[in-house]
Symmetry: C2
């Protein structure tokens, strides 16, 4: 692909031994080992894909899904001033990331005519002060509000609680048909608690695709409905993802950016660089780093390896923000333990320019900034930080966005999803399950008094008794 | 102090060997060692304080500062609909944390009569798309906008760029006196670039106190002016901090929560638990965790130790959010490497209740949630997660807020500041400098063409030349 195309690029020279030295950088031997592994793994994944595995990989080609999402948006956009997404984890992080990436910083504050769609609130918690504040804000405008409840099973306690509250409020305020008119449910197409409720009460619904885990679902109806409602080019997201698919199915390490991301991070993991920092130099990309945080942590943090039992493997993803966190984290990043791999996200052309005016005599000490673009300053801060990091022998990747568009964001999402699958293979773990989340859910059920969890409740209450001298 | 008081508490039983076992929990021997160290360190700090060191510790008693901040707020609040803070790092994180903690989630969206003061935007970056969107939003309302430019020296490139842009825009739109009327500067009382500009152009100003580093400055005019403007009880913040001062100057480990936080985290650091996760179970406390991230990282991440040269010491602070991140990070937290210490922030009474309605037949599977408070669910999620973590032998502290008020937030801030000072002492590093930030600043100056940095620019350009085969 030529440089003139709208294609994101990975730059990885600054993780090599040539730049940061053999103690901290990858050697040619390590890259050769990765080349060998990738030659096997990538075709394996493609073959498994043809047998129905890795189904998130095929979302970019699901035209029926796209058509349904767009039809739902077209039907609902008229008269809708506020959209509230009720979801958590994989049913929220992608929605937030798309909105932050592709709509203005001030979106919810703009008058309707200046927005691409309704105000968007993604409620991914059960904090009564936060949720209550939202209810107070919208209670007189329920007629122009739509709730998108997203839960594959309906078993997620947080989303279930929100749903019960919203459903009741709509009944109270708008009458018996209130919930049906104002709730659109995204859930399993056929089974589960939420699907049963949808069928019983007649809600409009979209499908969470089969075989696609929550953290891989942003390019399905889960992430695309709220995006489409808010004027984001959802077809462009899928087009970008499909373009990236062509690049990440190539079995040659040196040509496959997902394979490079996976191989570099897993090699670094084995060298005790277990903290994987993603630091966008763009406000708009900051929540993609938070989305990545779930993808990387929940996919790769696993006790059991296919190679070795009980390994307790897993890099810790960390999101940071440039230039802001230069004034918060870079002191540690340069002088703390050399236990991190950095990925800086760069934007080459910003869609909005802000010019710094020429300095006069009073502000002469600031004159070096004068008559330059703010974007130039931000990009120079990134280059400066990258160079400062490698001066301290800290391995540093960068991902370069020509500009932030639906297509480049779609490329980025698909790139990291594919990298996660490959990294899981390299670490010998199952990247698609999350067994350790279960216990906390059961404990919550027990503490909330759910039928069937009485023994767990008793066991917990015994543990929670005495705080003794440990409460200071 | 009795339980009925509005006092935050540290609970630390779940970091002890009794709970998580001797491989991962603190033994009585380790606590005894810490008791010994604290008996020495805390009185040393108090003695140094009497000689003028640790000056942030005395901010809660600075009545003159409080009076000036309150007077400035009283003078400026009338007619002010929008307040824009231009600052970064320690000149922004505290401001953001106070606003999120003590004002509603929907604050900027509320009509003026329902807000405690102007809309607040803390612009802590130089992203032209973000800053440009803000300028677009406010350009027709500059008459009712106030800019609070915060920079101790005026040398910070990001804040200088914002200042130049805002100053020029105000001149263009409101005439020659525009900047003077609409900019209030918080800077050094006597010296530096920004103080010279203040003197030359006659801006109203507040002082960044001497001897207080940016990350310890939230309880000075730096953090308090924007808080006071937005209706936050700034006297209450200082009262809470002063109350905590009484607790953290006690030289007995078992009675001093700051000493316990410092000792537990440094002991765990030496046991290779170098990731220190702060996870509030409250939307309102989430940005205090981000504030902590700067405090902990920039203070404790140091190459040079007083005990040993070239140690590259430093825990990596991580902020998470409960219950949200249970669906993102807890899989890793339970099954990944046991390399973390967790601190959950708990709120016992939420100021706003949201009740979950009784379930009916259709939603019977959700009936266990019915007729309970949303806050009960959130707190049970926290307890469940804490129990799940300790089941996996992950050491877990908690900080318990009776409720979120200016006083408890003031206590929390002061608690973690004091803990940072003590942790610095236990790690043998200087907690108050940030030498590694300098190089990136110089590189930025060089790339922006500042006079005096020509050689650095040449050196950088040589390095940045060829991307070769590493751009994929």
């Amino acid at each position: 692909m030529s440089e003139s195309e709208n294609v994101i690029r990975l730059y990885y020279k600054n993780v090599t031994a040539d730049v940061v030295g053999p103690d901290h950088g990858l050697t040619e031997d390590e890259l050769n080992e990765a080349r060998e592994q990738i030659r096997q793994i990538v075709p394996d994944i493609e073959e498994e894909r043809s047998r129905g595995e890795h189904r998130y990989r095929d979302l970019p080609y699901d035209e029926e899904m796209l058509r349904r999402v767009q039809a739902a948006c077209d039907a609902r956009r008229q008269g809708c001033e506020t959209l509230v997404v009720c979801g958590i984890g994989g049913s929220a992080l992608g929605n937030i990331a798309l909105q932050t990436a592709l709509n203005p910083y001030t979106y919810n504050l703009l008058p309707p005519a200046k927005r691409g769609g309704p105000r968007l609130f993604v409620m991914d918690n059960v904090d009564p002060m936060q949720f209550g504040a939202l209810l107070d804000l919208i209670e007189d405008d329920l007629d122009s509000t739509l709730f998108n409840v997203i839960s594959k099973s309906g078993e997620t306690a947080e989303t279930a609680a929100q749903f019960l509250i919203v459903r009741d409020m709509l009944k109270q305020r708008l009458g018996p048909s209130g919930p049906k008119d104002k709730i659109l449910v995204t859930t399993d197409a056929a089974k589960g608690t939420m699907r049963q409720i949808v069928d019983a009460e007649g809600y409009e619904s979209l499908s969470v695709p089969d075989g696609v885990g929550g953290r891989f679902s942003v390019l399905s109806a889960v992430g695309l409905f709220s995006a489409g409602m808010c004027g984001i080019d959802v077809a462009g997201l899928l087009k970008g993802a499909a373009a990236m698919d062509e690049r990440v199915k190539v079995p040659t390490l040196d040509e496959n950016p997902a394979a490079l991301i996976a191989a570099i991070h897993t090699q670094m993991y084995h060298r005790n660089k277990r903290l994987h920092v993603m630091m966008p130099y763009s406000y708009h990309l900051k929540d993609l780093a938070d989305w990545y945080r779930q993808l990387w942590a929940e996919s790769l943090g696993k006790q059991k390896s296919k190679f070795k039992m009980g390994v307790f493997v897993g890099p810790t993803p960390i999101n940071a923000l440039g230039a802001t966190d230069q004034h918060s984290q870079v002191q540690l990043y340069r002088e703390g333990p050399n236990d991190k791999v950095f990925t800086l996200l760069a934007v080459e052309r910003f869609d909005r320019q802000v010019s710094i005016p020429a300095a006069d005599a009073v502000v002469d000490d600031m004159s070096y900034l004068g008559e330059q673009e703010m974007g130039t300053l931000l990009n120079n801060e990134r280059i400066a930080t990258e160079q400062a990091l490698i001066t301290s022998k800290r391995p540093t990747l960068s991902i370069r966005f020509p500009s932030i568009t639906a297509e480049t964001v779609g490329q980025f999402i698909y790139l990291y999803e594919a990298a996660t699958t490959i990294a899981g293979r390299l670490l010998g773990i199952n990247a698609y399950d999350q067994p350790a989340v279960e216990l906390g859910k059961q404990y919550t059920f027990a503490l909330m008094g759910r039928t069937g969890f009485e023994d767990t409740a008793k066991e917990l209450r015994a543990k929670l008794g005495d705080v003794g001298k440990y409460l200071v």
